[in-house]
Symmetry: C2
Subunit: 307 residues, 2 copies
């Protein structure tokens, strides 16, 4: 995304988490419009820093088989004082960038000081932006794994990392999972003391990238964080553990509270930390603020703000 | 709106009410994003007939003082099978037309057979489209009232109706209120046997166009209808009467159920009927279907679909 660099995205997404944790930004829950059998639409509203933003975005997992993207949509930006339209951005670009930025923010806040090897599991569009943001935040080098060796190879080449198998990726200091979440890739047995995990892929009930036993182990021996409890408890990764009574709201800390200094992050080098990202509209607003500044500065020219 | 005539809008909005009443169309509740002190934003999703639609629309009542419209927004149209974008329409045009169309549908379903004089109270953008749709459905002639005599005069001239005062408008067979809802215009004392009222203006808690005593009278002696109970019971006109226990869900009938033949409409010529319109996304989808057909037929050319 030409308008906002990974480095700027990371800072802006961090600021967004802080603004929301402080109550300065408003975000009603996202709304799902199921569209069976193919997928669904989501409306994600947010207001802050004088803007009101709505992201209208899809998830149609079967689309690539027809040569169409899984995710499409737009980000509508309006003046929060009078409702006048300000801009419209490509939701795909914004979403990929803000997801990568959140992984970097979480790792900065929660990762061990002395371990920066990254295991990137899933090298699709979102995985690539996770790698770019992690790399830009000086994490790595790392191991790229994808069921499609070509995708893993491209990622490794771009970041100067290595291609590896799943166990190699899971053995890294920082593990980022960016898979569709149809079957878990993180088992309890693969967890290592001091590891930080960003689980970024599961985005709905019935999906998960970590086995329930892994969640149970981290809840008992480490710490679990999420972007927002309401969404995370229903949004996939933690849903089963919540339903089974393994974890509750008191066991999970919002990343924004850590960024804002309202809650503790990692407490010891040996602790295992896990960040469950479900994706928030505040992250989209953070990227929008960067994109608008770039447009005003003439760095990019509307109407096109592309990946 | 060049793409969809009032006559077509009326038929399509009626069909939309029927499709929703039959469970063929899906509509999650609309979401409010308050944006104090000026107004709010609303996200209104709906799916049906192969399309997924989101309307993102504002209400900033103080805007006209700054020379800006109260209502602005867009209607995003996507393919429900794969999420691909199909079109984007001006929310203002769609909203005005579908509101007018709903008034005509409600009057066709609920009005007395032998009384068609229309009292139009409020001749702003929405009032004008109510008048156009009522007129097109062969209701009228009628009496136009607005605190701004010029607005009333323009409406009367366009429809071939007369300008009158508030009591004259309230004395008509069919009364349509299209005011901001800051203070009621319908008192219990002005109600006449056999009258049908379309209350279209109040769009949020604390707003109402009919006094609570008028609602109480109609609930006791006549029949109350709405577009959707969940929204209507919280959306303004009926909120106070619901809160005071004067009416409950069993006292109010959805217009769609009447259109679909699932519930009775007017039961006698002397009954007073009231239709509370809060505005539904299904109405927007109905207009979108008409606009897309017009675009496909070459009647209008995208990207412009204006009022």
């Amino acid at each position: 995304m030409a308008a906002v660099s990974p480095a700027e995205a990371i800072e802006r997404v961090r600021d967004g988490f802080v603004s929301y944790a402080r109550g300065e930004w408003q975000m009603p829950p996202k709304v799902y419009l199921p569209s069976p059998p193919g997928g669904d639409f989501r409306a994600m509203p947010v207001r802050g820093d004088g803007l009101a933003v709505l992201k209208w975005i899809t998830s149609f997992p079967g689309n690539p088989r027809q040569g169409l993207p899984t995710v499409t949509g737009v980000v509508l930006v309006s003046d929060a004082d009078n409702g006048e339209p300000v801009a419209m951005l490509d939701a795909r670009a914004v979403t990929a960038l803000r997801t990568g930025a959140a992984a970097a923010v979480a790792t900065q806040e929660l990762g061990r000081e002395d371990g920066s090897a990254v295991g990137l599991i899933g090298c699709g569009l979102h995985g690539m932006w996770v790698g770019r943001c992690m790399s830009d935040a000086e994490f790595g080098p790392g191991v790229c794994f994808d069921p499609d060796p070509e995708a893993a190879g491209e990622a490794a080449a771009e970041f100067g990392w290595e291609v590896g198998d799943l166990p190699e990726a899971l053995a890294c200091d920082v593990v980022c999972t960016v898979t569709p979440g149809h079957e878990p890739v993180i088992a309890a047995g693969s967890l290592r003391p001091g590891q930080h995990l960003n689980v970024l892929g599961a985005d709905g009930p019935g999906k998960a990238e970590a086995e329930v036993e892994a969640i149970r182990h981290i809840a008992a021996e480490g710490r679990i964080f999420c972007d927002e409890w309401q969404q995370a408890s229903h949004g996939g990764e933690l849903t089963t553990a919540v339903a089974q009574g393994i974890i509750g709201p008191d066991d999970v800390t919002d990343l924004g509270a850590v960024c804002a200094g309202l809650a503790a992050g990692r407490k010891s080098p040996d602790e295992i930390t896990l960040f469950d990202s479900t994706g928030l509209a505040i992250q989209d607003l953070a990227i929008v603020l960067g994109a608008l500044e770039a447009i005003e500065a003439g760095v990019v020219k509307p109407p096109t703000v592309d990946l």
